[in-house]
């Protein structure tokens, strides 16, 4: 899941590029995240450790992105909005893109699910079943790139990984199969977003962080339940 972090950091470069070309930020971010996904999956297994590779790429892209943004003259941009997300800035066009992105990822994951799961579990096992684990890994990274590109305006660069990890971790104690966990994590994520948005309206707090706070709270509750079940 470190890939999520790395890609999100690289997204700032995508934002800078979009501002320079004055295109929709989805296009810039998607382009950069997809390029990241391709580079990472083609360089791993060639003498580079995945973590090193991601660390180098993520932070270089972040630094280059920040420098690039500072060069844009007169650009009235608040980086804060991209770092932490600003749901009030989301337009109808954005919503369409988010839904399209979600459908693409859903279709991709549903189509490759079994192969993805086998390849994640064990590469040799995948090979023996006629599955190419490198291809599945690429598909997974591409799906992640799309998720990050469409979600960045809502959750922001710094918190996006939280929404990738925390709902899944919250679902884990109540799941017996990977499918159950995926479904439950989706529900928890959606519920957190709903509650988070409402709460941020009531208390006038930043929306992205509020959503993450709700998920984190659910995570704590889920693990308290798990621990009491174990000891009880």
């Amino acid at each position: 899941m470190y890939f999520g972090d790395a890609t999100a950091h690289a997204a700032i470069l995508g934002i800078a590029i979009s501002l320079v070309l004055s295109t929709n930020i989805f296009i810039g971010v998607l382009a950069v995240t997809l390029i990241m996904a391709f580079i990472v999956s083609s360089l791993t297994g060639r003498g580079y450790a995945m973590d090193t590779l991601l660390g180098v790429m993520a932070h270089s892209a972040l630094a280059v992105g920040l420098v690039a943004v500072s060069f844009i003259k007169g650009a009235d941009i608040d980086l804060h909005d991209y770092l932490f997300g600003d749901i009030s800035a989301v337009t109808t066009t954005d919503l369409t893109i988010i839904w399209l992105g979600a459908l693409v990822v859903l279709a991709l994951v549903k189509w490759r699910w079994s192969a993805l799961l086998t390849a994640t579990l064990n590469e040799d096992l995948a090979h023996a079943s006629g599955i190419n684990p490198k291809r599945e890994q690429l598909i997974l990274t591409l799906a992640l790139a799309v998720v990050i590109a469409v979600a960045i305006k809502i959750t922001g660069i710094l918190l996006i990984t939280a929404m990738l990890i925390i709902p899944a971790a919250t679902a884990r104690p109540f799941s017996r199969t990977p499918e159950a966990m995926a479904l439950l994590a989706t529900l928890i994520g959606a519920f957190s977003a709903f509650v988070g948005i409402e709460a941020s309206h009531i208390w006038d707090t930043p929306t992205g962080p509020t959503i993450v706070c709700v998920t984190a709270l659910l995570f704590v509750i889920s693990n308290v339940v798990r621990l009491t079940r174990q000891t009880g």
Binding site: S114, T118, L125, A128, R172, T177
Partner: protein, 258 residues
């Protein structure tokens, strides 16, 4: 007129020809020739670092061959039991779900196959809660679920005690007669292997010697690698793969004559 003795047709399932595999500059396998026939149990023995796992990986397709070919019979179904499989605790996985990776099978078939390896009422359990022996049996059951023509096992008894591994090998023999599949396995446990195999291939980067267990056991190459008598199994563990042979025969391509 073809003369074929009924019931013992030797159809070649898989043949490896002049296979050389280089892994990151290091030559793991040199000029390997071997084949497996229908219903045969073939065991690969050899010291650590002799390329046993690499050979299986090449056959399975997980490692690319640098030179040579691996010919498979058309529509050959391979079942594979890996050396070790770690299932992360963050991934929930019941036995029943694991059995269906990546292909769907109905519950009756899954339970029947688990029964074949001696596991009952286990399908609802999480994989991470199984004992070492149970885990290996589930791996085995998953590999035979789609009725393979060839079952490949890579040191499948690692982590099992002597009794556990002896039981496991007996189970494999039973499965061979029940399913009629050929078996290719890598093993450390010479004493078990020598009694259970039809053919043994002694590997040390190249094929040192091969043949029926008693023939292989009597070759100087085998003795140079593993010693003689019952201490053979122990000698294996102490073996250094940068060995020098007493008879110096292993370093040549003598296997071509065999």
């Amino acid at each position: 007129m073809p003369i074929l003795s009924k019931g013992r047709t030797s159809t070649t399932l898989l043949s490896v020809e002049n296979l050389t595999v280089k892994l990151g500059g290091h030559t793991a396998l040199t000029d390997i020739n071997m084949s497996i026939n229908k219903g045969e149990i073939v065991t690969i023995v050899g010291p650590n670092g002799s390329g046993k796992s690499t050979l299986l990986c090449a056959i399975v397709g997980a490692v690319k061959s640098t030179k040579g070919t691996i010919k498979k019979a058309p529509a050959l179904r391979i079942g594979y039991v890996p050396q070790k499989l770690h299932i992360d605790a963050t991934l929930p996985m019941t036995v029943a779900r694991f059995m269906r990776l990546p292909n769907q099978h109905d519950t009756a078939t899954v339970n029947e196959t688990l029964g074949l390896v001696g596991l009952y009422d286990i399908e609802g359990q999480q994989m991470t809660t199984l004992s070492g022996g149970q885990f290996q049996r589930v791996l085995l059951a998953r590999a035979i679920l789609h009725k393979p023509d060839l079952l490949i096992l890579d040191e499948a008894t690692q982590g099992l005690d002597q009794l556990g591994s002896a039981t496991f090998y007996r189970l494999i023999e039973t499965l061979r007669s029940k399913l009629g599949c050929a078996i290719l396995m890598v093993s450390h446990e010479l004493h078990v292997v020598m009694s259970a195999s039809d053919r043994v291939i002694c590997l040390n980067g190249h094929v040192c010697c091969h043949g029926t267990p008693d023939i292989v056991a009597s070759t100087p190459e085998y003795r140079a690698l593993f010693g003689t008598g019952t201490q053979g199994a122990l000698a294996l563990y102490r073996h250094d793969h940068n060995h020098s042979h007493d008879h110096d025969a292993c370093d040549h391509t003598h296997h071509e004559k065999a």
